[in-house]
């Protein structure tokens, strides 16, 4: 996905293991404002499945998934 935007908050969870990156994202969305974009960085292979599944379940918007060298950046917009 290449719809990347400037995130309002970035969480570097590359040191965290599953489900740490997802939890960082959930915490931010929970406390965050509607319309803002939250970006989490993960090295954990499980995040590739978990984060999009949670975003769909929670009816939030996946803005971009960007593969970097050895980790992935997930950008999610809080829509409700």
């Amino acid at each position: 996905m290449s719809n990347e935007v400037q995130a309002d908050k970035v969480m570097d969870a590359r040191n965290a293991f599953c489900p740490g990156p997802l939890m960082e994202l959930i915490k931010s969305i929970k406390k965050g404002e509607v319309g803002k974009v939250y970006e989490v960085w993960s090295k954990d292979a499980g995040s590739i499945q978990d984060i999009p599944k949670w975003v769909a379940k929670a009816s939030q918007e996946m803005v971009a998934v960007v593969e970097e060298n050895g980790y992935t950046r997930f950008q999610v917009r809080k829509v409700k």
Partner: protein, 390 residues
């Protein structure tokens, strides 16, 4: 006390703090003046708490005075920390004293923020301290006496929380308890998991979810509690789901201790930021954090606090003896944690894992032997683990 000795201050008289104190008291008594500050009079063996809901035994055997389990070379202060001055290396205590330090170990655990989730205080029961146990016992007695069954919901109010297997143990033991009371057929059991599975370690989760299916426990994944509505007896999740309950048991929201809030070493929930392998704060290298107080990608649990305490104490002993510079402490912690997981009132599994290795295969076999280990582990805790010798 000699002026030329280094001052080591340990905050917290729980598992991690006591183990660090004992190792330093024995191994660095010539090099360090060690002080342990504990708000509580007693160290508390928490691993038996889920069990105590059902067996109705006194909790007395789960406490021992901190002074009695800490090496005599360590000064124990019963006091409460109210502030930290990290630039001046000083701890402010509620008694009005300031405690200077050369090295600081923060092992102050978590506190329960009952106001952290709307409706929690009014509706939810928990088993994370003695007061919670007393209340849940009463509620369970009433549920049994009523005899009509209903919806029993076990979940987690917020993340992170200590002992990730505790709610699993709660639901498995509750299932067995309800069968014994002949209420199982009248009761729907629900388990609310904030993640996409019942447990975070994939290999272990396969075995746990098999048990859920076998025991007919309803698993609700991606359920992050948002609000509890006492008027409708409904829990609402961030994801938009709602579950009705007749009896609600929830792990309370956990936060770092109040004196840490606003200091430059914590994250927004009050957990101390440390290197995952040295347990050392990277801005203040003379400050270490272990156990529930630390912001680590590992279970907040007594066993992880135990291994983290051993790693920190050994690094500090080497520093105090001049074998290591504080800027080059060793990566001694590998994420090691162990859990004996109750899978009924009379059986348990055993998980031993670290940052990179999942639990061993044999541990997934639920059996009576692991249950006996769990039942009698308390003795090993008070007379072995806390000493730092095991």
């Amino acid at each position: 006390m000699s002026e030329d000795k280094a001052k080591v201050v340990i905050l917290g008289g729980g598992t991690g703090g006591v183990i660090v104190a004992n190792l330093l008291g024995r191994k660095a008594k010539k090099q360090a003046e060690v002080t342990l500050v504990s708000k509580q009079e007693n160290v508390f063996y928490e691993a038996d708490l889920p069990y105590r809901i059902f067996d109705k035994k006194s909790l007395k055997s789960m406490y021992k005075p901190v002074r009695n389990v800490v090496n005599k070379n360590v000064e124990v202060l019963k006091d409460e920390v109210i502030g930290l001055d990290l630039d001046k290396n000083s701890v402010a205590l509620s008694s009005g004293n300031n405690l200077p330090y050369d090295y600081l170990v923060i092992a102050t655990g978590a506190h329960y923020d009952y106001d952290g989730v709307p409706g929690y205080k009014e509706e939810a029961y928990h088993y994370y301290n003695e007061e919670g146990i007393n209340e849940i016992r009463k509620a369970l007695d009433e549920f049994v006496e009523k005899g009509t069954g209903g919806n029993v919901v076990i979940g987690i109010a917020d993340l992170p929380f200590k002992c990730p297997v505790a709610p699993l143990e709660g639901v498995f033991m509750m299932e067995h308890f309800l069968r014994r009371k002949k209420l199982r057929k009248k009761t729907e059991l629900h388990y609310l998991s904030p993640i996409g599975s019942a447990f975070s370690i994939e290999k272990a989760n396969v075995h746990i979810e098999k048990k859920f299916a076998k025991k007919n426990i309803n698993l609700h994944t991606f359920f992050n509690t948002e609000t509890i509505h006492p008027d409708r007896k409904v829990i609402e999740s961030l994801e938009g789901d709602e579950i009705e309950y007749d009896l609600l048991i929830m792990v309370p929201p956990h936060r770092g201790q109040g004196f840490l809030q606003g200091t430059p070493i914590v994250d927004e929930s009050g957990w101390v930021n440390v290197n995952t392998k040295t347990l050392q704060n990277e801005t203040y290298p003379n400050v270490f954090a272990i156990g529930d107080a630390a912001n680590l990608p590992v279970s907040k649990a007594g066993s992880s606090a135990h291994y983290q305490a051993m790693a920190t104490a050994h690094n500090l002993v080497d520093v105090l003896k001049g074998k290591l510079d504080i800027s080059q402490v060793k990566e001694r912690y590998n994420g090691h944690a162990t859990c004996l997981v109750m899978t009924s009132l009379t059986s348990a599994m055993f998980f031993d894992f670290n940052y990179t290795r999942p639990p061993f295969g044999l541990g997934y076999i639920s059996n009576r032997l692991f249950y006996y280990f769990k039942k009698y582990q308390r003795f090993l805790y008070f007379y072995g683990f806390l000493s730092g010798r095991l």
